[in-house]
């Protein structure tokens, strides 16, 4: 087990191919590196929208839904740091598809279960860092770029979950819950179209 933990990052480092998705400026100062990492998540719709959809689903599941599966999301993010070295551009399409599933479930289902939330949290975390790094090996980039990516992914998730939770707690009306589902529906619709664009123009 210990050996596997050691070997995986090493393999990821050496297997790294030339990155094409995000050309990070490794020579920048720490703060710029951090911002650069964060901006990848905040400005790349294929990364941001599935994360926002997950946050909505978690708070619709239960008010403390995020806290219950956040560790799985973090494990997914960490695993994605390693997986990112091995994946190609197609992984972005996979994340968009996972985002469609997440948003559609949040929009269509009235109730959610732990297994659904757990699997989606793990898968989204895994894919977010994989897509962000897409071909960059572990330790190839400055550590502050990784921190920026992790920070932004968690902020985006926490923000959307918090917005839905706040609305549900503060406004005791049935339409608030539907509002969250409508938001998920809109995000899902955008992601469906993005998925089609990705398939039509690979």
């Amino acid at each position: 087990m210990r050996k596997a933990v050691l070997v995986s990052p090493l393999a990821a480092t050496f297997a790294a191919s030339r990155a094409e998705a995000h050309a990070f400026e490794i020579g920048a100062d720490y703060y710029s590196q951090f911002l650069e990492g964060a901006s990848v998540v905040f400005t790349y719709p294929s990364l941001l929208l599935p994360t926002l959809a997950l946050g909505i689903l978690l708070s619709l599941w239960r008010l403390d839904g995020l806290l219950r599966v956040w560790p799985l999301f973090l494990i997914g993010l960490a695993a994605g740091l390693v997986l990112g070295a091995f994946v190609g551009p197609a992984v972005s399409t996979v994340l968009t598809a996972v985002g469609v599933v997440t948003a559609a479930l949040a929009a269509v289902l009235g109730r959610h279960v732990w297994a659904e939330a757990a699997v989606l949290a793990l898968a989204t975390g895994l894919l977010v860092t994989s897509v962000s790094l897409e071909g960059h090996g572990l330790f190839e980039l400055g550590v502050f770029i990784y921190l920026g990516i992790l920070f932004a992914a968690n902020i985006a998730l926490a923000w959307s979950a918090a917005m839905v939770r706040l609305a549900l707690e503060q406004i005791d009306q049935p339409w608030v819950r539907i509002g969250g589902r409508v938001a998920a529906s809109w995000i899902g619709a955008i992601l469906v179209l993005m998925l089609a664009f990705a398939i039509a123009n690979p």
Partner: protein, 199 residues
């Protein structure tokens, strides 16, 4: 000190702003903004689309909760699936007929205040959503940002639904109910005009 008349104050602000206005230069036809604008205005500038989107909200009002909210949840997702089929190039027969029929059918359902079960309503709305989405998907301008177009398209459609829902709240009053049913008749007439090639 006397307070200035609010209308006069508004005019005094509006007139100089009008006079100093010049041609917009911010968006030159490239990138996400133009893509967003294209997607946003696309469902709003076509009467056949507008009447169907508003009709979804109006019919939901007659069906009552939860349909008034569920239909606008279902419609964007299914319409996006139709849009995706159009973008990928999957052919769909009689798209324009389907769009025109959506106005006729939804308009008549509103005019006669038909209360269908939620699943029947969702299927009817979903089928028409496929036609509307497909038309939008095949008409995507290639020069524009696809992402911006997708966001604008969904937001524009969603706002039309909200407009329909807002008008649908008139059904809480007797006179409002008659007005909404009358609007259903107008929607059916507009749909028929497109169906028979008059519009």
């Amino acid at each position: 000190m006397t307070r200035p008349n609010s209308a006069a104050a508004t005019l005094s602000l509006a007139i100089p702003l009008t006079l100093i206005a010049f041609a917009a230069q911010a968006h030159t036809g490239e990138g996400i903004n133009t893509g967003f604008a294209s997607g946003f205005w696309h469902p709003i500038l076509g009467w056949d689309h507008v009447v169907a989107m508003v009709a979804v909200g109006l019919w939901g009002a007659f069906l009552g909760a939860p349909a008034i909210w569920i239909l606008p949840v279902v419609f964007p997702l299914v319409m996006a699936v139709g849009g995706a089929l159009g973008v990928i190039g999957v052919p769909l027969p009689a798209v324009e007929t389907g769009i025109a029929l959506s106005g006729v059918v939804l308009g008549l359902l509103i005019a006669f205040a038909v209360r269908a079960p939620i699943w029947v309503a969702a299927v009817i709305v979903g089928i028409f959503a496929i036609f509307h989405g497909h038309a939008h998907g095949t008409e995507l301008p290639e020069a524009f940002s696809a992402y911006g177009y997708a966001v604008g398209f969904v937001v524009g459609t969603g706002l039309l639904h909200l407009l329909g829902i807002g008008l649908g709240f008139l059904t809480r009053y007797q006179q409002g109910k008659m007005a909404v049913r009358g609007a259903g008749g107008v929607i059916a007439a507009v749909g028929a005009a497109f169906l028979f090639g008059i519009a």
